[in-house]
Homo-oligomer: 426 residues x 4
């Protein structure tokens, strides 16, 4: 028994009998960096089987001590020895040294047991958030564990941290509600988020009169020096209209139908990623600012961590393409989502599906790369779900693809590739 | 009298009396490069007044010999001495030396008289082209002179040079019908092209199963090696539907409503520009491949040369955004256009107006620059025609702008910035 | 006294008398996000003066309880009440509500006292790291506090986490040594890092035979499928040469002079930023992979946090422009740096100065933006330090600027704008 | 005999006997577009053999009438019937209809005989230009025919059209000397241009104090409004130094060694291309503005037309990277070039070789694409001339490639990929 574990056992002398069989989230401490994996244990007598992120494990249990090991695709062996107590395992893992496979390195690990799925039909969870995250963080403790099919009813703050009463509840910069742990979701799966309801819950939104650098030609730059001033919009929740609180003479009649959307929707980024600013985005979603993330549409995100860890926030009452004002019509929101997991289906990047369209969001440091990414993602969707060849995809795109540019305001810009579902085989 | 002109007079001894008053297109030979300007002459006794591209001139006429000079904004003097005969002037100009304003340089010039506007209402011209241009060329002789308000009914070849019978009538690469000389149009004006009718005139279109480099992510490139094969589409002109001539099993049911458009629409590029390939584009329009250049819409182009010199061609029965197949559904077309000129109104780049939207096409070597250009052009439109301030434009864009990406297949890529006209003050 | 503070006082009844006058790093907890500021306190009797990040404060001390407040440029008042004990203050701050200036919000704060500068000349610190950071993290505790003029002698791991013996000491992905707290450095200052010594400390480096996406044209992509294989280089430390451990026939004679460089050099990112992956970069420096960060050169970084928090790592024995192999010749390194602080001088982005050249590194999501950034940074340098006008800068650049492209392998690409110092006035 | 040819024969009744065997440049009129091909005829009795651009031909001669035909790689037959008189053939060709291979289309053709290579060693040609081209034009008549190994000594105007006396001899915009017809050069070959001598021939150069859009960050744009003013430099030809004619106080001591270069060097663009503005560039070279096109270096260009048609102009006394002032130090120049042809060797894009380096110039609408192109071109060079595999190229680049950015001032921007020749196998 490794020395550090022996010490551990001394500290936990009287551990009670605990249930081993089930799903666990295992956290290994790699030189200060927590790495999360899904551990499935099946106890039969004193024999343990199961898997770690899909790699089969074999082990045994002796009292409260369990040992098991798995072998990965490169034939490397990972050994674990731990003490189980209640819904928690604590122990020492032995891994091959990354740079010297001949050597072995010890790492502390813990695991927490995911409760079994409650019996009965999918549930509806009322969740009133009390704190918020300013990062899309793989390390933040889940605020709620839900199962595929469950519905979450909650609220989001505006991007400045204000709630439905205009009171600040969190630090500005797109504070997020969550994360929600979606039981059964593992890296390589797809998280399905159906937006059942997305409604205004206060009477105003805040914006600017800005034009972001990514949209502004050189000939306008000199005149743009005094842009960036705050602009408050009134939101008429009954009629669903936005108008300026203090319009100039020329904008007095301006009244625009709102189209509430979630600017931020994310799973936690994967192993090796630092927590990501809620102003940033990536293939995990994030601050996509995609104005098709609206009520009635479904968002697909590639799961990167056990439980997916779903975050949401930064809702907009209305947003033009590109979010060219840097802030759209920022407001708090009433949100209802139903989640699902497609096991074993990996997607490259965020997808949005409406009643009539497939939409893929490519995100990159330039529009040229973002558009390439979006096209590639749409082709993948057509191949993966509809069985088209690349040649057939080319024909469909050439005649019918539509490109939009939802986001110009972030470090990533976003291009959406869209296709009418009516063209596609069933 | 300059020596070269004395010689000229000897060669033209018996010139008849000719009408001087009127509009002329003057061509000056600058070291082998023809430069075109609009010359307006008003004869009163033997005194000449008028202007050259807006700079006032003063001169006199003695028999068939006329002399006049103008002074430009930099106070440089340009002198002209010529012989007038019928609708033509031929002579010698004296300009300041470009690099040595103290010196004077002689250049031959000619002018051709533009006929007076016919009396009566605007006319409808039936024009059956007999040859085609493979460049947007400022030097090509006009095929027809028309007046603001006139309508032109003509045809275009497909991009491969084939006509409505599938017979080759011109070299492939977007051969164009035209140029049409629009009387009164001068650099600094805006040409208005109303697309009254754009109809299929044959039963097929040719395309490819390609994905252009600008749309293709690295992960698809390897598999794209055998793309680029010809694809023929059947066009059902009665029902307005396109379907594949020899579909794969999976594309058998594919039938898409056509949306005929002009890929090429241009005025001639301005002074100093070489003739531009009909595969290329610029602020003069050109091979824009913008799928909103459709029947019912109006295109605005910035005039660069006297008479604008309107070219059209490269019609598509249907085109997705980006023309990602490199060739859209290329076909010949029946076209009817009404032209107009807005004097003294300069626009930055091509604009398209539909019943419901303003659309500006930005074109550049990258999407990032093209989008900046499109936004800048849309702001200019809002300022110029609607009187909004930059701050008001920013607010309108932030809430409501839509971006599309019509063109990825050329050297320029194109981004369209679009705005709903319902939002705008009257 | 706020309720939370009253509780605090109960918990700390017998605090000893403590030194107030001096510099402190104050941490305010903004809804779970620590914000750091430099607090300068001067005690005179029971009166406190000083400043918080430059904003003057006024307060008083009563026993171990201190209260003070400052007013910022927008006339907002920030009040602090705390208990001082040893080198630590703990208390409650009251700030205006971000979204409702009429309201006040309470935030816990702490402060830790920075020791006074030791008497005598600048010191040389031997620092043997025991753990490493996988983020450029504003929240990580400093490993050492040093003063301007001090020298740090330490080591860095290779990008895979291996030390001079090839043993893994940290998680792969550019683990960093540090952070070092540079006393007196505050946001708005410039940190000066003179690289006194940068030497190989082992006999090999690891690389790949890859070509990164950002360097690879479409025509090479198909053939690039089996690139990305590990390549080990032998490092001859005596002669300073790198050669392949198992060369192909054609590369047998290849022997290249090493040019050791630090791929990673950073101050902590500023308030509001999440910890940044050590694979990423920004105006704070980071994983710049700039092959001019070599022995003898000086790097200037814009300080973003109290104490700057200097990180270093990811050394390369040799790197071509662009780090096109994704991994350069990655190796551990022996490093000696002298640090300095230029108070009140803000720079836009990282600068590097050699004996002969000024070099500014622009970093962005595309080369086009990175180059614009680099030019802008070089112009700022010429204006700020040499007093040239923009017109004079234009003339110097037009005749003499050199651009390089150090980095193509990260999310940011990097362009360097370089100018020969011999051209510049003294 | 086709009808049009019969007419032709009537017009040319008494044609003298003429030499058939030899090389000809054949021009076919494709609906108004001249297409050039290299025709090699070998007469043996009345039988003709030879080839057209490498496709074998067979034919016969009857008096002054010759007929021949070739079959291309797609098995299409091209037939020619013409009348030969002196060094000229005139006739009618029959080609398959482009869009209907079953049909045949008639096209007029002419051919002009290229004189035989003079006996003796390569020659040195003194060429004093009398007119200049403002396009890189495939249709302009050659000013001189030279053979591989020959040397041309000539002059170029400055970009504004002024000669060594400052007198304007051509229209501004980079007027070019040429084109020179390089006998034996055909599409698919490589033209080698050795710059033997490149010397100042007057005492001044003209520039601006500008910063081009592609180099200018948004924060500088507002201040850049009054840039763009003329700046004259004095050129000290004895000491090889440039200094400002009327320096500001701060630039009084500025004196920079000149480094004369050719901004423009081109072969004519290939079939289907319009004449290209001398401000533009492409894989044929053109206005590359590459500051390594200097005395002592060798430029390789991919031949696109029979005889290559070499143009040169737009010399700079000195130019920083990027030509950020829009005009470099523009001046007239004394030039001596030796030309050579590498038969059957096709290169992708312009290459420059110095005594120590390989340099490839990638040109595109964005720096990101230009850099990809440059890398691809350098890899092709290493593969083609040195026999390295892609993996070996990756290793060489990763350790040693250098990127520069010669050109930011044109529609294409240019990136140079450079590699030290000392690293390469012999």
């Amino acid at each position: 028994m490794p020395k550090r574990l022996a010490l551990l056992c001394c500290l936990l002398p009287g551990v009670a009998f605990a249930q081993t069989t089930g799903q666990w989230v295992m956290t290994t401490d790699l030189w200060g960096n927590p790495a999360y994996r899904t551990l499935t244990l099946v106890e039969d007598g004193d024999t343990l089987t199961g898997d770690i992120d899909g790699d089969k494990l074999a082990g045994r249990r002796t009292g409260s001590t369990i040992t098991f090991q798995d072998v990965d695709a490169n034939n490397a062996t990972y050994s674990f020895t731990g003490v189980i107590e209640g819904g928690r395992i604590e122990g020492i893992a032995e891994f091959p040294d990354t740079n010297n496979p001949a050597l072995r390195a010890q790492h502390a690990f813990t695991a927490r047991r995911i409760p079994d799925r409650p019996a009965g039909p999918p549930r509806r969870h009322e969740f009133a958030p009390t704190d918020y995250s300013n990062t899309f963080d793989p390390h933040r403790l889940p605020v709620l564990t839900v199962w595929p099919g469950d519905t979450i009813h909650t609220t989001t703050l505006d991007s400045g941290g204000a709630d439905e009463n205009g009171h600040t509840q969190a630090l500005f910069g797109n504070p997020q509600t969550g994360p929600f742990f979606i039981a059964t979701a593992s890296p390589g799966d797809t998280l399905v988020v159906r937006i059942k309801r997305l409604r205004l819950n206060r009477g105003y939104a805040d914006s600017l009169d800005d034009i972001v650098d990514h949209a502004l030609g050189a000939s306008l730059v000199a005149g743009a020096n005094d842009l960036g001033k705050p602009v408050r919009w009134k939101l008429d929740r009954v009629r669903g209209l936005a108008s300026l609180e203090t319009p100039t003479e020329r904008l007095k009649g301006l009244s625009i139908p709102v189209r509430p959307m979630l600017g931020g929707l994310a799973v936690a980024p994967g192993f090796g990623a630092a927590p990501v600013s809620t102003g940033d985005s990536g293939r995990f979603g994030g601050n996509m600012d995609f104005n098709e993330v609206v009520e009635g549409n479904t968002v697909y995100l590639p799961v990167q961590q056990p439980g997916a860890l779903l975050y949401l926030g930064d809702a907009h009452a209305l947003q033009g393409d590109g979010e060219t004002t840097q802030y759209a019509l920022e407001t708090s929101m009433d949100v209802e989502l139903t989640v699902d997991v497609i096991k074993g289906k990996a997607i490259r990047m965020p997808r949005v599906e409406s009643a009539t369209e497939l939409m893929v969001l490519g995100q990159a440091g330039s529009l040229d790369e973002a558009l390439r990414s979006a096209t590639t993602g749409l082709v993948q969707w057509l191949q993966q779900d509809y069985g088209y060849t690349l040649s057939e995809c080319a024909i469909l795109l050439g005649s019918s693809v539509r490109y939009g540019v939802p986001n110009l305001a972030g470090r990533n810009v976003g291009v959406a590739a869209r296709l009418d579902k009516a063209l596609l085989r069933k």
